[in-house]
């Protein structure tokens, strides 16, 4: 990353950093951009691991008992460990670090026109804790007895009792890793919130803040307000596993359902924690490439807040048939279905933003648009599940699996790639290759639908989750169902092959891509007024930007340019 050295040369006197050695610069740095990259690259590496896991277990599902190339035979315990850690990795070690910590760290100071986070050292500590949690998680896969296989939801007594799970150490390390990860994000979240609240550029009022910053802040708030009980729950689970407490043990006065409440009280807000940053990225990309003001900025913001508030009152829709009081389900089906109101509004407003635009189908735009189209499928299928009467049948079937991959994949992969391709010129000072980008786009989106559409039909027919071999169940072993499983697996392999195009494009463009100037997309937000890539401190200390208007002033009447940067004096 030679260009960083070059960037540092631009560095301002204010910080007075001379050349530092490699370790200090890339590992011990407190620069928000470096920490963002640390999160992002760790997340991407974990994405590859999570994707490899999905390849292994999908091969096993399509061709039960085969020896999977590059892996080997998949036994039931290995299958369980694979899906458990696939889910945990994709949510906690991919979506969270990349979308919140990665983009949050990179964008919040730049978009708010400030030189760094308000607590740079806390920020570094946050990443270091995260890294430790990553190492603990990976170690758990190799623990004696095998990795934890009790699903990412880790319901006790299975997760709390070694006698039942048969993975004494794997379970403990898994809980420990998750708990550490939570603490890391708590520290990060405080930084994000306080920076965006308190360190904005002069003149930047609350409604001048770009939506992606707002959404990352609201997401951090949701996270911080919902994760506490689960941190406590995780400590209790650790104690149950290792110290013999009885929190979840029904035989000694505990209650296994308690964990489910603690988990989902966090778990449901969590899905919006990752949704919101992705929606924010999409807002930035869509406005720039449609050359349009966002349709009703404030209303979008209100829907975000409404979604956040409502998300605390829907958690038990994961537990309709878990043995809770059946009358409670009625309350939660109401709140759950009603959450479609703010989210539908949000989607409608995004789509309305296209009206009157001049839409350029660049690579980031393609990804952002694909997000909208695909997320709608995930969203509306959530309504089937929220309808308690149907969830009796659909719960823990592949219908659920298909539902949440149609939300998570758009968020964690589509939204992320939209963001990466959009900010790449800023991050690395070079443009990505458009043609490779389009090949990667179509090579991912088309197979994606072929992977997950079949799962809806499998789920409707009763195919249940977390099963390593469906030939054990006569009604599920029928040929047409097996064929759908094969379609899904083959599509996955095709999609994974196309990811090499992305990786190549990414690395190649970083060093060889066309040089990017400060503002290659003619965008308004502040990060595009800094050098590409921005030096340590982002702007020279005497040229910190000042803000005069909102972030989406495209095609403002009476101007010859079709954009109007936030920092340009009237």
């Amino acid at each position: 990353m030679a260009h960083h050295a070059h960037a540092a040369a631009h560095g301002d006197g204010h910080h007075g950093h001379a050349e530092q050695n490699w370790f200090l610069k890339y590992f011990w740095s407190t620069d928000h951009k470096i920490i963002a990259f640390q999160y992002m690259f760790t997340g991407m590496a974990m994405a590859l691991i999570g994707a490899f896991m999905s390849y292994v277990f999908r091969m096993q599902l399509a061709y039960p008992g085969m020896s999977v190339p590059f892996f080997g035979h998949v036994s039931p315990d290995v299958y369980n460990a694979l899906i458990t850690n696939h889910g945990s990795i994709m949510i906690f070690w991919v979506a969270m670090p990349v979308l919140i910590a990665g983009f949050g760290n990179y964008l919040i100071p730049l978009m708010c026109g400030v030189d760094d986070m308000v607590f740079p050292r806390l920020n570094r500590l946050s990443y270091q804790l995260f890294l430790i949690s990553t190492i603990v998680l990976i170690a758990s896969l190799f623990a004696p007895g095998g990795g934890f296989g009790g699903a990412w939801t880790a319901y006790p007594p299975l997760s709390s009792t070694a006698k039942y799970s048969l993975t004494p150490m794997g379970s403990t390390l898994w809980v420990l890793a998750v708990a550490l990860e939570f603490v890391a994000f708590l520290l990060g979240g405080i930084n994000f919130i306080v920076t965006a609240m308190n360190a904005r550029a002069p003149g930047m009022k609350a409604f001048d803040v770009p939506l992606v910053v707002w959404m990352i802040v609201v997401a951090s708030l949701l996270f911080m307000a919902s994760v506490g009980p689960l941190i406590a729950g995780a400590v209790m689970l650790l104690f149950d596993q290792n110290l013999g407490t009885a929190f979840y043990d029904p035989k000694r006065g505990g209650d296994p359902i308690l964990w489910q409440h603690l988990f989902w009280f966090f778990g449901h807000p969590e899905v919006y924690v990752v949704l919101l940053p992705a929606m924010g990225i999409v807002a930035e990309v869509m406005t720039v490439f449609a050359r349009k003001k966002l349709f009703a900025y404030k209303t979008v913001l209100y829907t975000v807040i409404a979604t956040g508030v409502l998300s605390f009152f829907v958690w038990a829709h994961h537990q309709f048939v878990a043995g809770i009081d059946p009358r409670m389900a009625n309350v939660f089906t109401v709140t759950t279905v009603l959450i479609s109101i703010p989210i539908a509004e949000m989607c409608f407003l995004y789509i309305a933003t296209l009206y009157g635009g001049s839409i350029r189908f660049t690579v980031p735009m393609l990804w952002a648009l694909a997000f909208m189209a695909e997320f709608l499928i995930g969203g509306v299928t959530g309504i089937y599940l929220g309808a308690s009467g149907y969830d009796i049948h659909a719960h823990d079937t592949y219908f659920v699996v298909a539902h949440f991959h149609y939300t998570f994949y758009p968020i964690a992969i589509i939204g992320t790639v939209a963001g990466i391709t959009y900010w790449f010129p800023k991050m690395f000072g070079r443009m990505m290759d458009e043609r490779l980008g389009k090949i990667h786009f179509w090579g991912s989106i088309i197979p994606f639908n072929f992977i997950f559409i079949p799962m809806f039909f499998l789920g409707m027919n009763g195919e249940h989750r977390r099963i390593y071999d469906f030939t054990n169940f006569p009604d599920l072993a029928v040929p047409w169902m097996q064929n759908l499983r094969i379609v899904s697996t083959v599509s996955l392999v095709v999609m994974l092959l196309f990811q090499f195009v992305f990786l190549f494009n990414f690395v190649w463009s970083m060093f060889r891509g066309k040089k990017a100037d400060k503002n290659p997309w003619n965008a308004n937000t502040l990060e595009w007024t800094a050098d590409s890539p921005p030096p340590h401190g982002n702007w020279p200390a005497d040229q910190m930007p000042e803000v005069f208007r909102g972030p989406y002033e495209y095609a403002t009447p009476g101007r010859d340019k079709d954009y109007w940067p936030q920092n340009e004096r009237a």
């Binding site: 204010h14 910080h15 007075g16 407190t30 100071p109 400030v114 030189d115 760094d116 986070m117 308000v118 607590f119 740079p120 050292r121 708590l186 979240g189 405080i190 919130i193 306080v194 920076t195 609240m197 308190n198 360190a199 904005r200 930047m204 911080m224 307000a225 919902s226 994760v227 506490g228 009980p229 689960l230 941190i231 406590a232 729950g233 400590v235 209790m236 104690f239 110290l243 013999g244 407490t245 009885a246 929190f247 000694r252 006065g253 505990g254 209650d255 308690l258 603690l262 200390a541 910190m544």
Partner: protein, 191 residues
């Protein structure tokens, strides 16, 4: 890394950054303790027999500790008052008194717990004791963390540096105190 960033010097919300951060930390702490306490309460309500277990706790020790913590909170308030008058050394002395309060609290706890463990009530003795030790332990952990940070703040306050931190650690200490005010009746008095 001694240079200050511009970020630290701004205050778009007209509130010092440190204080704002402390409030957010407390929000996340409130939900952590909230999770434990609500879980405990719900179980307590559906397990009448836990009252018999709770009868073995030492209410007097708990009451004494409550008093100790409240007094230490008062010292923290006085420290803040001294700091806002610019009297760093006085603030530092009061912070050390606060730390002393925390220390006494922990000593009393140690005696209590060793007595209870001696009687055979351990973490493993079922639902009530699991909550008793975990909730109070989590709280004690916060007391210890608060004492360490406070010692650090006091050291610099004695040199008249970073006096704004005196207030921030004070806010945190009041919170720790407040948690105990919830724990005490729930774990000791309700019998």
């Amino acid at each position: 890394m001694s240079t200050k960033t511009i970020a630290t010097q701004r205050a778009s919300m007209n509130m010092p950054t440190g204080r704002l951060a402390v409030w957010w930390v407390l929000m996340s702490e409130v939900v952590i303790f909230g999770g434990v306490l609500v879980s405990y309460l719900l179980h307590r309500l559906s397990h009448a027999e836990w009252a018999a277990q709770a009868a073995h706790t030492n209410t007097w020790a708990g009451a004494f500790n409550t008093l100790v913590l409240l007094t230490s909170s008062l010292c923290a308030v006085l420290a803040h008052a001294a700091a806002s008058k610019g009297n760093g050394p006085k603030a530092a002395r009061l912070l050390w008194l606060t730390i002393l309060g925390g220390f006494i609290f922990l000593v009393v706890k140690t005696f209590e717990w060793s007595h209870e463990i001696h009687l055979g009530f351990t973490l493993q003795s079922g639902g009530f004791w699991s909550y008793y030790y975990t909730a109070a332990g989590l709280h004690a952990f916060h007391v210890i963390a608060g004492m360490c940070i406070m010692a650090w703040v006091a050291a610099s306050a004695a040199k008249n540096q970073d006096l704004h931190r005196v207030e921030n650690i004070g806010i945190y200490w009041h919170f720790v105190d407040l948690v105990w005010i919830f724990l005490f009746p729930l774990l000791y008095i309700a019998k």
